[in-house]
């Protein structure tokens, strides 16, 4: 039985889909068999980020309505044959699928894959219910902003109420310089509120946007960018490895003086 992990946040646009795509890829590179489930019905874009859009034929909805078999709907990645995507339906309405049906699909996938990662839509309505229905674990993604953290807190409460016990935190879009200037919440500030274990800190970096636009996950780059490395580290931590957190302060501190100072510390 594979692990079913939902990637969720409450607030929209904080990086769930980015994390799901890259984490899936990173786990596949570690030799794991990974299925990605897009639970964002109506607004799917996991296929886009993976650069698989033009290969989607069937969707999860076709599977539950009996139009095709599950394995027919799975889109295999051309770069990583360990990775597949189960796309969400684009056109039809969000309520076309029920939590029970989602659960069924995820359980079936977990028979054949080491990881089933579910990309959750924003909000806490039906789409959220669908996405968490089968999950045994959750990654809560937030940016270091009050509103995002507030929503993440709400989501953690709902996950706990649904008896999802393993909940880990990913802080995305951190800008170390802003934190140092007291203009952004620190990772510690976020953790103090959410009080769940931290599994990743991903810097705000334009490489992420470049990769999104190209449909080429960060973790596939020959020369890993910092956000790419940060997400690979999340994958390794999920695998139980002990990996130190990157010193983002140092990495993003470009001034020579600071570098010299660091050298003498």
């Amino acid at each position: 039985m594979g692990r079913i992990i939902v990637i969720t946040s409450g607030k929209g646009g904080v990086g769930k889909t980015t994390c799901t795509a890259n984490l899936g890829m990173a786990l596949a590179r570690l030799g794991k068999k990974v299925a990605l489930m897009d639970a964002d019905f109506g607004l799917r874009n996991l296929d886009l980020l993976l650069g698989l859009e033009n290969r989607v034929v069937y969707t999860a909805l076709d599977v539950v309505s009996g139009q095709c078999r599950l394995d027919q709907a799975l889109v295999k990645d051309k770069r990583q044959n360990q990775l597949v995507l189960l796309p969400a339906a684009q056109s039809r309405d969000k309520d076309a699928i029920t939590p029970d049906q989602m659960k069924q699909l995820a359980l079936e996938l977990s028979q054949r894959f080491d990881y089933v990662l579910v990309d959750c839509p924003a909000g806490i309505e039906m789409g959220f219910r669908n996405a968490i229905a089968a999950a045994q674990e959750a990654l809560v993604v937030t940016t270091p902003e009050i509103a995002a953290v507030r929503d993440a807190d709400r989501v953690v409460g709902l996950l706990e109420a649904n008896r999802i016990k393993t909940i880990n935190l990913v802080v995305n879009r951190l800008r170390p310089a802003m934190v140092q200037a007291n203009d952004m919440m620190s990772v510690q500030d976020v953790q103090e509120i959410l009080s769940i274990p931290l599994i990743g800190v991903i810097p705000d970096d334009e490489q992420v946007i470049v990769s999104t636009n190209k449909g080429e996950p960060l973790v596939l780059a020959d020369n890993l960018s910092l956000p790419g490395l940060a997400i690979s580290n999340v994958a390794r931590r999920l695998e139980g490895q002990k990996v130190d957190f990157i010193d983002l302060d140092a990495a993003y501190d470009k001034s020579l003086l600071a570098r010299v100072r660091r050298f003498f510390r």
Binding site: I146, R150, D153, G157, M185, E192, I193
Partner: protein
Amino acid sequence: MNADPLLKPATSPVPEPQDTEPESEAPRHGPGPSSVYFKSERDKLLLTLPKPVEPNVAWLPLWEELQQQIRAGERFWQVNSEVELIVSDRLLDQGQLQMIAAALDQVQLKLKRVNTSRRQTAMAAAAAGYAVEQESPALPLQSAANAAPLENPLYLETTIRSGTEIRHHGNVVIVGDINPGGSVIATGDILVWGRLRGVAHAGAQGNPDCRIMALQIEATQLRIANQVARTPKPPAQFYPEVAYISSEGIKLASATEFGKNIFVPPQEAL
């Protein structure tokens, strides 16, 4: 960042009188029959579900609240205790009753009896194999509850997260934090063994002698009886504090100071 970024810097420094918001109105109903509530009665546990506001829409939130209450008392349930479910006129189907039974079963509590004034719920319970007690429909005389004596204290070991609201007709003890966006409303005192950063309303039916105590008070809003205050900018060093009503409105005192100067034991007060 050193200060908690979630808090608007408030008005006055610590034990100064607090801002009383002009629009603050006296609470109308107090906590009311609110939250899912466990209560022990001799040899069994009574599990009361709140009265439905609109017919049957609120099953999911109710279900989640129930799960939270079960979890928050997880260390204290006595194995194999029997549970009587009290649902007034709420409509529950067999599936929902089974979900409740399964949730109770996870902490080894046994659903035995269902007490309801609703015929369909009684039938569902009977069909699912529970003993059924069909009380007559409650009189619509809610105000009687206002004078009711306080329930046993509610002791919850959990973080009250954003979006969660705990209401209780009695004193409330939270072992954990009340996060921004979370709230606790009690007819009696509120004691937080943790950080209070959300909203706490003590004496919610108008009792001005009630208090709010926490290891760290950094609340979005404090309410006691019909008074409202925001907390001042938190001091650099935190210490346990007590919020109480003085002649100048809601005040904060450090726990040690409060114990020495302000708190008068009841026997001396006589």
